[in-house]
């Protein structure tokens, strides 16, 4: 089971508690997480289910390369960080 941690900044808009979910790829893990928390999905993924433009994901400290299909491999004990660029104004 991979551990999934969401940025604190998203919590103001939608609850995204830390979660554990099965899956061999980022897509599989996130699908499992969003199945339990469907409202959070559109905050992270766009209409085509790709990672939103200013969002990013790290697996065990390494940024993913496949932002469209989310096919990067996830280990059984991996930690996935979902976060975003910070901006204001």
């Amino acid at each position: 089971m991979a551990r999934v941690v969401f940025t604190p900044n998203i919590q103001r808009h939608v609850a995204c508690p830390e979660a554990e979910a099965p899956g061999a790829t980022v897509r599989e893990v996130l699908d499992a997480v969003f199945a339990a928390n469907p409202q959070a999905r559109s905050y992270v993924l766009d209409d085509q289910a790709a990672l939103r433009r200013h969002m990013t994901i790290f697996i065990d400290g390494v940024m993913i390369s496949d932002r469209k299909d989310l096919g990067d491999a996830v280990g059984d004990r991996s930690t996935i960080y979902v976060f975003q660029a910070l901006s204001g104004g």
Binding site: I10, H13, V14, S42, D47, Q48, R53, Q84
Partner: protein, 366 residues
């Protein structure tokens, strides 16, 4: 006569109410969030707010008995594998809701129906008060849709949606840039309208092309739907045949450029505009914020100034930030520099509600 205003701003949704003899801010929702548009649906009493959370995307909220709830956001269908479609800059066109740019109620005879226009050009219809949305595929699949281009924004967008008060299946929309389109069957089929407008910045062959027109705002008289008014990038245009054909009005002082237009609900010859310097400067002429009004179908225009700042005013009033109520007497407008004004005498005089609001994107009477 409406005593309530919804004011959508960069930092929240402000409800402004007429208290006694004046207008005051009565409530703030979504404080510090970017509220790009709001709708007060008079059929159901529900309010809707479109929020843009930037990195986290566009969301829609609907009022409840004791607050707000997030509801479905219009979402584009899956892009076919292998399909290559680029925007005018050569970048892949996103099949994704980038901005909600129009949100209106359906007809009085179709409770629950809402229409939503978006960037990059998709139109959506809901039959259940926004609980779910159907993508209007026929418009998206129209070959001329692919010729739409960005205006002020990088991507094309639908900003005006007009449901004909005589027949709810007849809907006209306006696109920046993509001209005016009409359906007579609630979105099943679409035809281009808006002949007679001109886009002078286009190559000569394209100047009169209806699909190339940068309509900034389209308005329709409720009592006389044959009459439509356009504030266009190139000026002011008027139609007397339901938007098939338009005539340009050139003698509009101090400027024919602007974003917003509203028409009196019962007097088709009466319309209001907020002029700016055309077109790269986009500030009021001579630093004076004015409203222009015609009462004779565009033969003459009055410049209305009473109560508006007449020195060093750099307010821009966006296309959704000028509103008229159902009486036709009350108008309101909000500006990019946080000004909000209300008129109760058809624009003859204006009272400032605030000049320290966040940038105002949209104003609507409740």
């Amino acid at each position: 006569m409406s005593d309530e205003l919804l004011v959508s701003t960069r930092k929240g949704l402000f409800t402004v109410a007429r208290e006694g003899r004046g207008w005051e801010i009565a409530k703030v929702d979504f404080l510090a969030d970017n509220v790009t548009l709001a709708l007060s649906d008079r059929r159901s009493g529900r309010k809707y707010a479109a929020l843009d959370h930037g990195h986290f995307g566009v969301k829609v909220h609907r009022s409840t008995a004791d607050g707000w709830e997030e509801i479905a956001t219009p979402a584009y269908p899956e892009k076919p594998e292998g399909l290559e479609e680029n925007d005018m800059w050569g970048r892949p066109l996103p099949w994704s809701t980038v901005r909600i740019w129009a949100l209106v109620s359906g007809g009085a005879d179709e409770p629950g129906v809402l229409w939503c226009g978006t960037l990059p050009g998709g139109l959506f219809r809901s039959k259940d008060d926004g609980q779910s949305w159907q993508f209007v595929r026929a418009l998206w699949d129209h070959p001329l849709r692919k010729m739409w281009a960005g205006g002020g924004a990088d991507l094309p967008g639908i900003h005006s949606i007009l449901v004909d008060p005589r027949n709810s299946k007849q809907v006209s929309i306006a696109v920046s840039t993509g001209g005016i389109w009409h359906t007579g069957d609630a979105g099943e089929t679409w035809t281009q309208r808006g002949h007679g407008m001109r886009a002078e910045y286009m190559p000569p062959e394209q100047v009169s092309e209806p699909n190339a027109q940068d309509v900034h705002c389209l308005a329709q008289c409720r009592a006389a739907p044959h009459r439509m008014w356009v504030q266009h990038h190139n000026g002011v245009f008027v139609s007397s045949d339901e938007g098939h054909n338009f005539t340009e009005l050139t003698d509009v002082k101090p400027s024919a450029f602007g974003f917003a237009v509203v028409v009196h609900p019962r007097e088709p010859d009466t319309a209001w505009f907020v002029p700016e310097i055309k077109d790269e400067k986009r500030i009021p002429v001579d630093g004076k914020l004015v409203v222009t009004r015609t009462r004779d179908g565009g033969k003459t225009f009055q410049t209305l100034t009473k109560g508006l700042p007449q020195s060093h005013a750099y307010d821009v009033v966006y296309r959704h930030a000028l509103a008229i109520d159902e009486s036709g007497d009350r108008l309101a407008m909000g500006s990019t520099t946080g000004g909000l004004w209300v008129s109760e005498d058809q624009g003859e005089s204006w009272a400032c509600v605030s000049h320290t609001l966040p940038p105002v994107y949209a104003v609507q009477f409740g």
